[in-house]
């Protein structure tokens, strides 16, 4: 809003003052929101880091165990066992709201199964396969945790950035421009007031002179 394009009237000045008050309260609220989001990010971050590190470790272990199983039993046996495993892990995905940011809340069920409930024959397979299944179940368990927290932190960080951009726009663009408009209108109104005062004085002086003549 360029100051020069504004009509310098009292009503416009009132409007601008109202806009400034609204922008300032919005600015304060957004700053609080940004700080709150940052607090949430800092609270989750250590957990995310440790879960990610653990996930990588579990992935390494799972890969090693499946390679061992393939070497001992043969790739085809491992594949055929994989086809017979039933009982998929069940998850309940809910949305949780943190300061207007929707983040996932995941509840997992039946990720780890005892040997007897895995669906493949224990007699015909070696412990290497059992070990591989156990490793991958542990990996899936950790992946579920990582999915929840990593998505939450990513969404929170996106919102922090958006809020930061809004705060900056208000602080460095909107509020200075509105202040400029307010100053411009106030100056113009003062000028107009002085003009009218001067005109009144001149009229008064002329009237007095006319009175003195008569």
């Amino acid at each position: 809003m360029a100051a020069q394009n504004v009509t310098p009237t009292r009503s416009e000045l009132i409007n601008v003052k109202r806009k400034i008050a609204l922008s300032k309260s919005g600015y304060n609220l957004l700053k609080k929101k940004r700080d709150g989001l940052m607090y949430e990010v800092f609270a989750i971050l250590p957990k995310v880091k440790s879960i990610r590190a653990d996930l990588v470790q579990r992935y390494k272990a799972a890969q090693e165990s499946i390679q061992v199983a393939s070497a001992v039993e043969g790739a085809i046996t491992v594949r055929s066992v994989a086809m017979t495993v039933t009982n998929p892990p069940k998850v309940v995905l809910r949305e949780h709201n943190i300061m207007g940011v929707k983040v996932p809340k995941i509840q997992a069920d039946s990720v780890r199964h005892p040997l007897s409930e895995r669906g493949y024959g224990i007699v015909g397979t070696s412990p290497a396969i059992d070990e591989a299944v156990t490793s991958f179940e542990a990996l899936v368990e950790q992946a579920i945790l990582a999915a929840e927290l990593e998505t939450a932190i990513k969404r929170l960080l996106d919102e922090v950035e958006k809020t930061k951009r809004r705060v900056n726009a208000l602080e460095f663009k909107v509020l200075p421009e509105l202040d400029e408009v307010k100053k411009f209108i106030a100056l113009r109104l003062e000028e107009m007031e002085r003009d009218s005062l001067f005109t009144m004085k001149r009229i008064k002086a002329k009237a007095k002179a006319r009175e003195a003549e008569t």
């Binding site: 495993v85 991958f136 179940e137 990593e150 998505t151």
Partner: protein, 99 residues
Amino acid sequence: MGELAVVGRAEFTLGFRLAGIRKVWDAGSEEELERAIALARRDDGVSILVLETRDMTRISPRTRGELVSSVSPTVVAVGLEEDNTLREKIKQAVGVDLW
């Protein structure tokens, strides 16, 4: 109740099949990967989508952008390669490398 889904190379998905995951899409090439991801995302029964970290860099930036902060399904990248998405996001949002 939802399920987990896995998309990736056959060697990557095999282990997850062992853990009981039934919704598995084997995808080698980039086109197959994009197609499989689209299928998994369209499936209402999928709550969590597991991808390989290196595959996250092979998909189009648009799909990656959509996956990174998707809630339903929630996407997680698993692998030995370092995924810098989160690190970059932290740097951008906080201004400091806290990772």
